[in-house]
C-alpha cells in the first residue's frame, strides 16, 4: 500500500500542529465558535447528539494492521472502546472530547492517517472497490488512481471552498462494487480496444433529498488525462454550481439543471484548454511509481488449498456456510478474498470493538499479507488469503465473534448511525437493522431468500444509501414519532437504479413485519431460486408488493 514520503509526513504533522493551536485558541476563547466550526469540520470533527464525533479518512478503504491497532488504541484511550465503519469506507468515533482531538490526530499521523477533508465543502476521501488489486474480474487496480486523486485534491487551493462537498469513487471492474453512479464523479477504469488504460467518466450522481444517478459524459478518458479532466469538471462546478441554496448546491443539481450534454461540452471545452497547457498531464513514470506502491503481494503457490477446504468443510458445517457466503474469487486460484461481516445478528452494523480490531490486525498480519479493506457496505475484507489458510482464519474469527456467514444476504444490512447518535437524524436506523436481522436470523431462511440488500437511513441525507437498497428504508419524524418509508427496486451496482416509494410509511412496531411481507411476496412470486429479489422486482413491478402490504387500500389507490 501507499507509504507517506517525507513531504506527506511533514504536511500531516504541520496540519496536526495547526489544529492543536486552533483547538487551544477555541478553548481559551481567543476564537469564536463561528470562526472555529469550519476549521474543526475541515479536520473531521462534528458535534453530534451526545458528544463530538471524529471521522477518520481511510483512503480507498485500505488499512494496514498497524493502523488498525492504532484505531483500537484510540478507541480504548479516548473513546468508549469501539468504532464505526461508514458507507464512505471511513471510521467514526462517537465520543471523543474536543480537548483530546489534537492528541488523537498526533497518534493517527504516526501511522500515516488523518482526518483532513472528511468534512467541509471540498473533495472528500476518495473511495474504491474494496476488492481492488485482488478480484478476478478486475481490469486493473483502481487504487493508484485514487491515490493520485487524493494527493491532487488534498488542500487544493482552487477546490477547498466548493459550493458543496464533493465525492469521487473509482472502480476497476465491470462489476461495480464501489457504487460509482451515486457519486459526484464516478470513474470506471477500463481498457480501450488498443489495450490502453483509461476511464469511463460519470458525473452528477448523489442521494440525499434529491437522488439522481450519475450521467456518463466520457466513454474513455486516457489515464494520463485523469487530473486534467477531473480539474475541468471541478472548475465548471466551482464556477456554475449554486451557492445560494445548500440543498441545490451539489453538482448533481447543476448537471440536472444544465443538462448532461451541455455540461459535457462545458467540461470538454475546459479540458481542451487545460490540455493545451499540458501541466496536468500525468507523466507515465509518476503513474508507474504510484502503482508500484500497490504491487500485489508475492503469492506463493498453495495448491493444497482445495483439499484442505473440502476436508474442513466436511467436518465443520459452520465453516462450510461461511466459505459459501463470505468468499470472493481471487485472481490467483490458490487464494480467496474474505469478507469479515460486521453484521452479526443483533449487532450494530459497522461497529467493531477495540479487541476485535486488534484481532483482525493479527489475522491480517499472519494470513493476509498485512492488508485489510473497508467496504462501503460496512464490512471488512481480507483481500489475499490462501485457501489453505481459510480454516485457520475462520477459527480465529469465530473466537472474536466476527464469523457470521451472511455477506450479501438479508441480514447484511447497511445502516447509518441514525437518531441514536446523529444530530441530523429524524429516526433511528440501527434498531431497525437489528430487529430485521434478528427476525431473519435463521441461516437456512437467509440462504433461501438469497441475495438481498437492505439499506437504512435515519434521515433524508441518505448516509445509509436507502435509495439504492433492493429494499430501502428511510426514517422520518411524523407528529413526533418515528415513521419508516419503504422503497423497492433500488441498486447501487453497474445496473444502478433508484428505489420506488411503495406507499405510506410504517411505524417502528410495523416496519419489520412490512419487510417480512415484502420478502414473503418475493418468495411466492419468484420464478425459481435463481431469480433474485431485485430481478423479480424488475420483472413484477410494485403491484404485488403493494397488494401484499396494503391490500384493498392498494387497489383503491
Amino acid at each position: 500500500m501507499y507509504r507517506y514520503d517525507e513531504f506527506d509526513h511533514a504536511f500531516v504533522k504541520a496540519r496536526v500542529a495547526q489544529f492543536r493551536d486552533q483547538v487551544e485558541r477555541r478553548l481559551s476563547g481567543e476564537i469564536t465558535e463561528a470562526q472555529f466550526k469550519p476549521l474543526r469540520l475541515m479536520n473531521g470533527v462534528y458535534l453530534q447528539l451526545h458528544s463530538y464525533m471524529l471521522r477518520i479518512a481511510i483512503p480507498y478503504g485500505t488499512l494496514a494492521p498497524r493502523q488498525m491497532r492504532m484505531l483500537a488504541h484510540i478507541a480504548r484511550t479516548y473513546d468508549k472502546g469501539y468504532g464505526h465503519f461508514t458507507t464512505r469506507q471511513n471510521l467514526q468515533f462517537h465520543w471523543p472530547a474536543l480537548k483530546d482531538v489534537p492528541e488523537i490526530l498526533e497518534h493517527l499521523a504516526s501511522v500515516e492517517m488523518h482526518c483532513i477533508q472528511t468534512s467541509g465543502n471540498c473533495v472528500r476521501n476518495i473511495t474504491a472497490d474494496h476488492l481492488a488489486g485482488a478480484a478476478a474480474d478486475e481490469v486493473a487496480d483502481p487504487r493508484p488512481y485514487a491515490e493520485i486523486l487524493r494527493q491532487w485534491s488534498s488542500l487544493h487551493p482552487e477546490f477547498s471552498f466548493l459550493p458543496r462537498k464533493f465525492k469521487i469513487a473509482v472502480t476497476g471492474a465491470e462489476r461495480d462494487r464501489a457504487a460509482i453512479q451515486i457519486y459526484d464523479i464516478g470513474l470506471h477504469l477500463k481498457k480501450d480496444a488498443a489495450g490502453r488504460l483509461g476511464f469511463a467518466v460519470y458525473v452528477g450522481g448523489g442521494l440525499g433529498r434529491t437522488p439522481i444517478l450519475a450521467k456518463k459524459i466520457r466513454d474513455f478518458l486516457p489515464e494520463e488525462d485523469l487530473l486534467a479532466y477531473v480539474t475541468a469538471i471541478l472548475r465548471v462546478y466551482n464556477l456554475y454550481g449554486r451557492r445560494d441554496n445548500k440543498w441545490k448546491a451539489r453538482i448533481k443539481i447543476l448537471v440536472h439543471e444544465t443538462g448532461a450534454e451541455e455540461l459535457r461540452s462545458q467540461v470538454e471545452h475546459e479540458f481542451a484548454g487545460i490540455k493545451k497547457g499540458g501541466e496536468l498531464k500525468l507523466p507515465e513514470a509518476d503513474i508507474r511509481a504510484i502503482q508500484a506502491y500497490f504491487a500485489p503481494p508475492a503469492l506463493e503457490p498453495r495448491p493444497e488449498g482445495d483439499a484442505a477446504v473440502a476436508k474442513a468443510a466436511a467436518e465443520d458445517p459452520g465453516f462450510a456456510a461461511w466459505i459459501s457466503r463470505n468468499l470472493h474469487t481471487h485472481k490467483n486460484p490458490d487464494y480467496a478474498c474474505v469478507t469479515i461481516s460486521l453484521k452479526g445478528i443483533g449487532e450494530v452494523p459497522g461497529d467493531i470493538s477495540a479487541d476485535q480490531m486488534e484481532a483482525v490486525a493479527d489475522i491480517a498480519e499472519r494470513f493476509a499479507f498485512s492488508e485489510i479493506r473497508v467496504s462501503h457496505e460496512q464490512n471488512l475484507v481480507l483481500p489475499h488469503v490462501a485457501r489453505a489458510d481459510l480454516k485457520q482464519v475462520y477459527d480465529r474469527l469465530v473466537k472474536i465473534g466476527l464469523a457470521t456467514a451472511n455477506a450479501g444476504l438479508v441480514t447484511d444490512i447497511i445502516a447509518c448511525p441514525g437518531l441514536d447518535y446523529c444530530a441530523l437524524a429524524n429516526a433511528r436506523s440501527i434498531p431497525v437493522a437489528q430487529q430485521i436481522a434478528t427476525r431473519f436470523a435463521d441461516p437456512v431462511r437467509q440462504e433461501e431468500i438469497g441475495e438481498l440488500k437492505i439499506k437504512i437511513s435515519g434521515c433524508i441525507n441518505a448516509c445509509g444509501h436507502h435509495h439504492v437498497g433492493h429494499i430501502g428504508i428511510l426514517g422520518v419524524e411524523k407528529k413526533g414519532s418515528e415513521l419508516y418509508q419503504v422503497t423497492l427496486g433500488g441498486s447501487g451496482d453497474e445496473n444502478a437504479a433508484l428505489g420506488e416509494i411503495i406507499g405510506r410509511g410504517f411505524g417502528p412496531d410495523e416496519i419489520v413485519d412490512a419487510v417480512e411481507t415484502i420478502i414473503e411476496t418475493y418468495l411466492s412470486h419468484r420464478l425459481d431460486k435463481s431469480e433474485t429479489f431485485l430481478a423479480a422486482y424488475r420483472r413484477l413491478g410494485p403491484a404485488p408488493f403493494k397488494e401484499a402490504l396494503y391490500g384493498s387500500e392498494a387497489k383503491a389507490a
Binding site: 477555541r26 447528539l49 458528544s51 463530538y52 471523543p96 434498531p431
Partner: protein, 102 residues
C-alpha cells in the same frame, strides 16, 4: 414547558441549564420554565454561557413533567438525555439517572 439544552464546549457532553444557572449533566436537574418570560431568561443565560465559551448549540427543548420527572416531548431529546438506545451500558443511562425513553 421548556428547558435549555446545550453541549459543553470542551468535550461535547450534553448538558442542561439547572438551578442557579449551573450546567448539569442530568436532565432531571434541569430548570423547567412555564412561560415566555422564563424562556427568555433561559436563552439569556445560555447566550452568556455561549459567549463565555462554556457551551455551544444552546436551544430550548419542549418537555412535560410526568410523576415529577422531566420528559422531553421529542424522541431526539429523550435519546440525548439517556444515551444511544442500542447501548444501554453507555451514556447517561448507564448512570441510572436519565429519563425513561418510552
Amino acid at each position: 414547558m421548556k428547558i435549555l439544552a446545550a453541549n459543553r464546549l470542551t468535550d461535547g457532553v450534553a448538558v442542561w441549564l439547572g438551578e442557579d444557572d449551573v450546567w448539569v449533566e442530568d436532565i432531571s436537574q434541569a430548570r423547567v420554565v412555564r412561560d415566555k418570560e422564563g424562556e427568555e431568561s433561559l436563552l439569556r443565560t445560555g447566550e452568556v454561557a455561549f459567549q463565555r465559551n462554556e457551551v455551544v448549540d444552546a436551544e430550548l427543548v419542549d418537555v412535560e413533567v410526568v410523576d415529577g420527572a422531566i420528559r422531553p416531548l421529542r424522541l431526539r431529546e429523550r435519546i440525548r438525555a439517556a444515551g444511544p438506545t442500542i447501548h444501554p451500558e453507555i451514556g447517561k443511562q448507564a448512570l441510572k439517572r436519565a429519563v425513561t425513553l418510552v
